[in-house]
């Protein structure tokens, strides 16, 4: 362990830790933008600078390893002033065109801008420098007028997804992230995982599907419905509708990472084709099943779908199943349970087949 002083407090930190990490562990919040615990340190935004006794200039705490006997000040007046200046400089290049963003809450950048008392309207650039919505990707909204060159998108793509879509191009005032050789993200082999959006602290990269969707009433942590990895995420719900999916470091398997289906494949939930009422073929309400050569091609008359109440639909099913069982035996019935449904539901399907009906004819798509 390394012993050091931060803001007059004696602190012990593990060897190899940064001053930022040591401070965070001690419950001291140092403002950061380019730093993220999941990503390699960059030391670019300078917001996390601290004074170290005996050193001439303030140091970026995110890349500064702890040293025995170090004496650190994180919030001296000079440091706080320099943070405000840094934010003013960022704001002078920042332009918000006024659309409602697709993030679930205030961005990390806006949080610090307001924290340091900057007037957003007055301090931001007068006009946009880049085209708003400059990429065709259907999931990722790109507005480089909000970019502060922190490179978290570049590192998220490299360090999390391993795809290397983003890199920084040009110099000085014109420095900005580009996809591939300054092309569209998908042309630069983007897999639309949305990691760059999840790690962007300013909203320069945003969730296109959620622009204007508003602030959620609640966040519900749940498990993804697509593959067997078992990622967890938060469903953002507003007025009974899922308006976005956000990743969270609390997810045991995936942390902040998701894939395109998990993060952006949720709009099927509210698709107008959802079945919302039990339906039976008209013949079941009117009498005997007619004989036809191709059931799927018949869409009228006895094969009409008729909406019914639950009681009626389930009575029809129970009557038919009981009748089949009596006439042809329990093994004349087949049950397909579902790898998309809950454990509890699969258990019930197994119980229904084996207990209520008395057959082992139960399977699902494990083989397919």
């Amino acid at each position: 362990m390394v012993k050091l002083m931060i803001n007059g407090r004696a602190i012990e930190a593990k060897e190899g830790m940064t001053v930022l990490q040591a401070a965070q562990e001690a419950g001291i919040t140092i403002p950061t933008l380019c730093d993220h615990p999941d990503l390699e340190s960059f030391g670019g935004c300078r917001l996390c600078v601290v004074d170290v006794k005996g050193w001439r200039t303030p140091m970026a705490s995110c890349t500064l390893p702890v040293n025995e006997g170090m004496v650190v000040e994180t919030h001296s007046p000079a440091i706080e002033k320099s943070r405000k200046t840094i934010l003013e400089l960022f704001m002078s290049n920042y332009h918000d065109s006024g659309y409602e963003n697709g993030q679930k809450e205030e961005t990390q950048f806006m949080h610090w801008v307001k924290h340091y008392g900057l007037d957003v309207e007055k301090s931001m650039a007068a006009a946009p420098h880049y085209t708003v919505d400059s990429d065709a990707n259907p999931f990722v909204f790109v507005d480089l007028n909000k970019c502060i060159q922190c490179t978290r998108c570049v590192r998220a793509c490299a360090d999390i997804q391993g795809r290397f879509v983003w890199s920084m191009a040009e110099r000085g005032f014109n420095t900005h992230p580009v996809a591939g050789a300054d092309t569209d993200m998908l042309d630069a082999r983007c897999e639309s995982c949305g990691a760059c959006v999840a790690y962007c602290p300013t909203g320069a990269l945003d969730n296109k599907m959620s622009l204007g969707a508003g602030v959620p009433d609640k966040l519900v942590m749940t498990t993804c419905t697509y593959c067997g990895v078992g990622c967890q995420f938060e469903l953002n719900v507003k007025d009974g509708k899922v308006i976005r999916v956000t990743s969270t470091e609390k997810a045991p398997v995936n942390g902040n990472h998701l894939c395109v289906k998990g993060r952006y494949g949720y709009d099927f939930i509210h698709h107008p084709e959802r079945l919302v009422k039990p339906m039976v073929r008209r013949y079941l309400l009117e009498g005997k099943k007619p004989v036809v050569s191709d059931q799927s091609s018949v869409t009228s008359g006895p094969w009409d779908w008729v909406e019914t109440e639950w009681e009626k639909a389930l009575d029809i099913v129970a009557d038919k199943f009981a009748d089949t069982r009596t006439k042809f035996g329990a093994d004349s019935m087949g049950f397909l349970t579902s790898a998309k449904c809950l454990n509890e539901e699969n258990y019930l399907m197994n119980k229904l087949a084996r207990q209520v009906i008395g057959t082992n004819n139960i399977d699902h798509c494990a083989r397919l």
Partner: protein, 541 residues
């Protein structure tokens, strides 16, 4: 999986991926593997006929001919034995039947294997050396291994492979079959199979049957039931009269679509419980509106046996209901009509569930591996992987650390068997099937996701540039792919992802589903269809 994903990603010195398109099918885990290669220099060997994305990160890519995995594995094990790289202590202490196994493997010298698999001899040596010198190596696979007539034999040979190297029961080692669907692991665990009750208690076991008969208050059947691939033809044989399908879409996901349509046509009565009018809905007599994952609370079990909460975020849409509600209500109605079967005083005879936590309590009582997994523990933040037999058990991240389920691990002598359908003059190319990153299985959900359709809105068939040249294809031209069972038309994606002589098609789009072409040749044990090898003819339309 015998191990956990983070364990494998953190501790494996090498990954051997055979028959898994990990970055597209398990994308978040695939990304973890990329990072393991990139950030800590883990070695990666990919054995796959296709140049799938993760091969970009591979130390070595073995491009075996489809359907020759056993020859490839035996060839690698031959070299390991020849060089004396096997883990002699592990074999001695933890396994049996080594000699018979060895005698079979010795029939697969590298030259012969190179001929069968088309993997050059020097690459076989290189792969064997990397794997043997990287301790432990994790083996990962998915349907590329199992969807063959030799699916079970492929898996047994992979078990042989890991036992030979002594990689079982160790952090970073083990066998990692990656389960496809979000809860395919759970559906199997919960007895959604014709041969086992929950927790794989065999229906043929007197003891297991007695246990469930007592719990449920009903006599149960001792005979193994029909698999999905047997039920369908069973309809035509007059064996199956009625079916109840919960959230499955056989028209899209089963082999030989034309045949499946014919079977469902002949079925007397079909109840489909679904969230969308799927392709199978055309054949249903009753449609029951179930609900999506966002509308109900319960649990899913992932590929590493981790049981996790699913939590209701919104009300079920319209008059749709959670599937467990529908099942309970139907069961109660059926028990009135089939009143003689169930003795109501048995401890778990009833179907009066207030919520899924109550169902989980019943699962706890009859499912040893889930004995201690409750909603309360999961809600308290505990991270549980089965087996977790009791309320104070911490769960089991790694299986087989001290011994195998049967005691000693048994080496099996496995011989190469060629695929059921091989190319000939009329159908000269091999088609393999699978999914793509942007879509999910039969596509009922992803085809209804607007952004996803914008990126990948129609079926593409992967075709090698050499074959494209021969056919006169120079871009996204429309191809007609024909097998002995049917024909589809879809646009070509000219790419060296597939080798010459092979095409790759998906089954996400009903208008061009690869399953119109596939055949129902099954593995004799698992009854899995051999989706990975179909003989086809490819033409330019």
């Amino acid at each position: 999986m015998s191990n956990s994903m983070d364990d494998v990603a953190k501790f494996a010195q090498a990954f051997f991926i055979i028959g898994s398109n990990t970055t597209e099918q398990h994308p978040v885990f695939g990304a973890m593997l990329r990072q393991a290669v990139r950030q800590r220099g883990a070695k990666l060997i990919v054995a796959d006929p296709r140049k799938i994305d993760i091969t970009e990160f591979a130390t070595l890519h073995l491009r075996q001919k489809p359907g020759t995995d056993i020859a490839l594995l035996n060839g690698l094990m031959y070299i390991i034995l020849e060089k004396g790289w096997e883990d002699k202590a592990f074999i001695e202490e933890r396994t049996e039947n080594f000699d018979e196994f060895k005698a079979t493997v010795m029939q697969y010298p590298p030259e012969k294997v190179a001929e069968i698999t088309r993997v050059p001899v020097e690459k076989l040596y290189e792969a064997a050396e990397i794997i043997a010198s990287s301790k432990p190596t994790a083996v990962l696979w998915a349907m590329g291994i199992t969807q063959h007539i030799v699916g079970v034999r492929n898996v047994m040979d992979l078990a042989n492979f890991q036992m030979l190297l002594g990689n079982m029961g160790k952090p970073g080692g083990g066998v990692s079959p990656l389960r496809g669907q979000n809860n395919v692991q759970g559906a199997c665990d919960m007895g959604g199979l014709p041969n086992v009750y929950p927790a794989y208690q065999p229906v043929t076991s007197e003891e297991a049957r007695e246990k469930f008969e007592k719990a449920w208050g009903a006599t149960t059947e001792a005979k193994v039931g029909l698999t999905v691939t047997e039920m369908m033809p069973g309809i035509l044989e007059g064996k199956v009269k009625s079916m109840y399908i919960l959230g499955e879409d056989p028209v899209m996901s089963d082999p030989d679509t034309k045949h499946i349509r014919h079977c469902l046509e002949e079925l007397d009565f079909l109840v489909l419980q679904e969230i969308f009018p799927s392709e199978t809905a055309a054949y249903a007599d009753v449609l029951l509106p179930g609900s999506s994952f966002a509308e109900k609370t319960g649990t899913f079990t992932n590929t590493e046996r981790r049981v996790q909460m699913v939590r209701q975020a919104i009300e079920p849409l319209g008059e749709s209901k959670p599937d467990w509600w529908i099942l309970s209500k139907l069961a109660k109605k059926l028990m009135v009509r089939i009143s003689e079967r169930v003795q109501k005083d048995a401890p778990h005879a009833g179907w009066e569930y207030q919520d899924t936590a109550e169902i989980m309590s019943e699962i706890n009582a009859v499912t040893p591996s889930y004995g201690g997994i409750t909603h309360a523990r999961l809600e308290a933040g505990e991270r549980l992987q089965w087996p977790c037999p009791t309320a104070d058990h911490p769960g089991t991240p790694i299986l087989h650390t001290k011994q195998f389920t049967r005691g000693k691990g048994k080496f099996m002598a496995i011989d190469h068997v060629p695929p059921a359908e091989r190319p000939d003059d009329d159908f000269p190319m091999i088609m393999s099937t699978g999914r793509v990153l942007y879509h999910w299985h039969g596509g009922q959900m992803t085809r209804r996701a607007a952004g996803i359709m914008q990126v990948y809105g129609e079926a593409l068939v992967e075709l090698n540039p050499d074959d494209a040249d021969k056919l006169g294809v120079n871009g996204r031209n429309i191809l007609r792919i024909t097998s002995r069972r049917g024909s589809i038309e879809a646009k070509a994606w000219v790419t060296d992802r597939v080798p010459p002589g092979m095409v790759y098609a998906n089954f996400h789009f009903p208008e061009a589903s690869a399953n119109e072409l596939t055949h129902a040749s099954l593995d004799p044990v698992s009854k899995i269809p051999s989706y990975k090898v179909t003989a086809v003819k490819v033409e330019l339309v």
